[in-house]
């Protein structure tokens, strides 16, 4: 006997929650307990009084599982609202990466030139290194990091994805 796997689609969820202790563990644990997958998860306070947080989750799931994920998230007591931005329609997804590259000579010049192409900013520099700050979609960041690999990539820090619906209304 072999284990069967289902076809899945990528979805980006915005989850508005009470900013209370354990909320992240509650949500992450729900995903592991029910066998859902998390590709990316970001969280930050979004209200003036720090009582509300917005969590952006990127997950891969089949349509019925996606429906369950949303229903299960909404069932959690501290969850205010769950929006499937992928199902909602047009939305913007952004991620920020800090990319440390070390090198001298041509490698250093090439790294700077590519950074310009990718609109990466230099946020730290030494005579033998740069830290670039680059924002954009996942693919752009993946590509930039890939290019830096040949030019002395030391380490990468990425924020994970944040997303918001296009247009005047909240999703």
């Amino acid at each position: 006997m072999h284990i069967k796997e289902e076809a899945v689609e990528r979805h980006t969820l915005a989850v508005i929650v009470d900013n209370e202790p354990g909320i992240l563990a509650r949500i992450a644990g729900l995903f592991t307990a029910r066998g859902y997958n998390i590709s990316s998860l970001t969280v930050s306070e979004i209200s003036d009084d720090d009582l509300i947080s917005r969590i952006t989750i990127v997950t891969h799931a089949s349509a019925p599982v996606m429906e369950q994920i949303i229903a299960q998230l909404e069932r959690l007591v501290p969850v205010h609202k769950v929006t499937d931005l992928t199902a909602f329609g047009p939305h913007v997804e952004r991620e920020l990466a800090l990319v440390k590259v070390s090198g001298t000579g041509d490698h250093r010049i090439e790294a700077l030139r590519l950074a310009e192409v990718y609109r990466a900013r230099v946020v730290d520099a030494t005579t033998s290194s740069f830290v670039f700050e680059v924002t954009g979609g996942v693919e752009k960041l993946d590509k930039f990091v890939e290019l830096m690999r040949d030019l002395g990539l030391v380490e990468v820090a990425r924020t994970g994805i944040v997303a918001i619906a296009r247009g005047a209304e909240a999703a």
């Binding site: 354990g22 229903a71 007591v77």
Partner: protein, 583 residues
């Protein structure tokens, strides 16, 4: 300025204000201030169990039999971890319960202190919600919110972890305003348009069936009354899950019996052949559906559930209705009448159902005149007690299924069993909780000789509080359901399923101050039961039954409703790996 009170006093006063009469608990270091507060008051009765797991099951039994939330009080560390099984059980079966756990003082949290466990971490995913309270001023609002969450929407267990210093520290009691929550607002009233559509589907259906579950019990006695009315208005047959037994009277001619793995032939065939299934407070559990791709293939499905995540989880439905099932049924009855639907002619459907009934799927062979078949024992118990409207609890296994099949319930809150989690050891503490909530009702735990040993220490609790609960053990010297599956799927290789070194249950009962009765032959059955019922106090009955009886009908794991086994003769020796991998 009002005087400040300790966290422990605030806890007890708030519980009392919320109408809590009974708390099931066990003391320990991290709850000593609360136990001192209990000592100094008389409004709340504390029931001392012998193991924290039993406190949770007793609270479940109390809740299920009375409709009120069960309350548990245990200490930190092992007290809390011992309670986890019962908390999970309550989550699976949607039982309203509030569990108060002691915790090490705030300053010691995270230091691996004596009897420290991460209780909120451990219970986060087996409770409906949980809290760690670090400020005595937050205690009262947290407790009020916890009761609101435990009892509203789909009920469930809520855990409140209280560090010892928070129990000692003082604060003023706040306003006793209405309990609410800023985001948690369960939808209880159904969508009117969906209800109209539902009754139109119901009126047009040729082969409708009501598939009801524990949600009806949770909704309260009024939901059971309304279900009877709806069935009467439409004339449609009714089947129920294990958790829903009693919501519809077994004595009604529209009752088909339980459905699912050990359900009746007529219930399962009717589900399979129906053109409309109306699921009311039931969740299409795998024990009910059997193989999903063969489940009720030609039916439209309406699903009423208060928990949106139960809808479309296992089975896709055509018309979802998120609502409390009681108001939803009331709305259906009103809409049915308002839209002037006549009572449909279901005579052809009923004649097919009556044909399936002729199979007599619950009949059983009694070849030896002296050997007691377990089904016979349950029927004798039912015959002897049905006029007393007893509360029946069970453990988990064959005896539980035989009780569900052969003991018949006409009213809700009379049948307490561990359905979702399937927790052996549930029945005795649940019976204790049920008896406390219903002092004048006959309460019987139908048990197996293996399950009963999982919380056997609770014999002492019943003795201490003079609770006249009865335990009726179907003793076949096997973990019967395990043995049955081994017979069916592993060519009778009975690996570790024999109940060896059994105690003498009669003497054991007597050691705890109970009356013990042994029933060994069929001619002793009725007299033994009569003796049990006549005794004013707790009785343990060791009823020796046929050792190798199997529980039929049975839909093997991963099979369709039409592939039901009715007799042992149909049993094959070994299943393939696909079947073995299913629960």
């Amino acid at each position: 300025m009002t005087t400040e009170k300790s966290g422990a006093d605030i806890l007890i006063e708030t519980l009392s204000d919320l109408g809590v009469e009974v708390v099931f608990g066990y003391p320990g270091g991290a709850v000593l201030p609360i136990y001192d507060a209990i000592f100094k008051q008389e409004r709340i009765k504390h029931i001392l169990v012998r193991h924290e797991q039993a406190a949770t099951h007793a609270a479940e039994g109390y809740a299920r039999a009375t409709g009120k939330p069960g309350v548990v009080l245990v200490t930190s560390g092992p007290g809390a971890t011992n309670a986890v099984t019962g908390i999970t059980d309550a989550l699976m079966d949607s039982i309203p319960m509030v569990v108060i756990t002691g915790q090490v003082p705030t300053a010691l949290i995270g230091t691996d202190a004596f009897q420290e466990a991460d209780t909120v971490g451990i219970t986060r995913h087996c409770s409906k919600h949980n809290y760690l309270v670090k400020d005595p001023a937050r205690l009262e609002p947290t407790i009020r919110e916890a009761f609101y969450i435990a009892t509203s929407g789909r009920p469930g267990p809520v855990v409140i972890d209280i560090p010892k210093d928070v129990q000692v520290a003082t604060a003023r009691r706040g306003d006793n305003g209405p309990i609410s929550h800023k985001t948690y607002r369960p939808q209880t009233e159904p969508d009117a348009a969906a209800i109209e559509k539902a009754v139109d589907m119901l009126a047009a259906a040729e082969r409708p069936i009501f598939y009801t579950g524990g949600g009806i019990i949770n909704s309260g006695p009024e939901a059971s009354r309304l279900l009877r009315e709806l069935a009467e208005v439409t004339g449609a047959p009714v089947t129920s899950t294990l958790m829903g037994l009693g919501a519809f009277p077994a004595s009604d001619d529209k009752w088909l019996g339980m459905l699912g793995m050990h359900g009746t032939y007529e219930a399962n065939l009717a589900m399979n052949q129906a053109d409309l299934i109306i699921a009311l407070g039931a969740r299409f559990d795998d024990r009910v559906t059997g193989r999903l791709d063969a489940f009720a293939p030609n039916s439209a499905k309406i699903h009423v559930d208060i928990d949106r995540s139960s809808i479309n989880k296992n089975v896709r439905v055509d018309l979802p209705i998120v609502a409390d099932v009681g108001p939803a049924i009331r709305a259906m009855i009103e809409a049915y009448k308002l839209r002037q639907h006549p009572r449909p002619d279901l005579s052809e459907w009923w004649s097919r159902i009556n044909g399936w009934r002729q199979v007599g799927c619950l009949e059983f062979q009694e070849s030896d005149p002296q050997v007691i078949m377990p089904q016979r024992a349950i029927r004798a118990l039912w015959e002897a007690t049905k006029d007393k409207a007893p509360i029946i609890t069970t453990e988990v296994g064959q005896h539980q299924m035989w009780a569900a099949q052969h003991f018949h319930f006409d009213d809700p809150n009379k049948w307490l069993t561990s359905g979702g989690l399937g927790t052996m050891g549930y029945g005795l503490p649940a019976a204790i909780g049920a008896q406390l909530g219903n002092p004048d009702t006959l309460v019987i735990d139908i048990a197996g000789e293996a399950s009963i040993q999982m919380n056997i220490q609770e014999l002492a609790t019943a003795t201490q509080y003079r609770l006249p609960v009865k335990i009726f053990i179907l003793n076949n010297e096997y973990m019967g359901m395990v043995r049955q599956w081994q017979e069916l799927t592993y060519q009778s290789r009975y690996s570790e399923s024999y109940s060896d070194a059994l105690p003498d249950f009669v003497k054991l009962g007597e050691a705890y101050g109970w009356k013990g009765i042994r029933i060994e032959t069929r001619d002793q059955l009725d007299s033994g039961i009569a003796e049990m019922l006549a005794y004013d106090g707790p009785v343990i009955v060791d009823c020796r039954v046929a050792k190798l009886a199997n529980c039929f009908p049975m839909i093997p794991s991963g099979a369709a409703h039409t592939e039901m086994l009715l007799q042992s003769a149909e049993v094959s020796g070994e299943m393939d790996d696909e079947a073995k991998a299913l629960v």
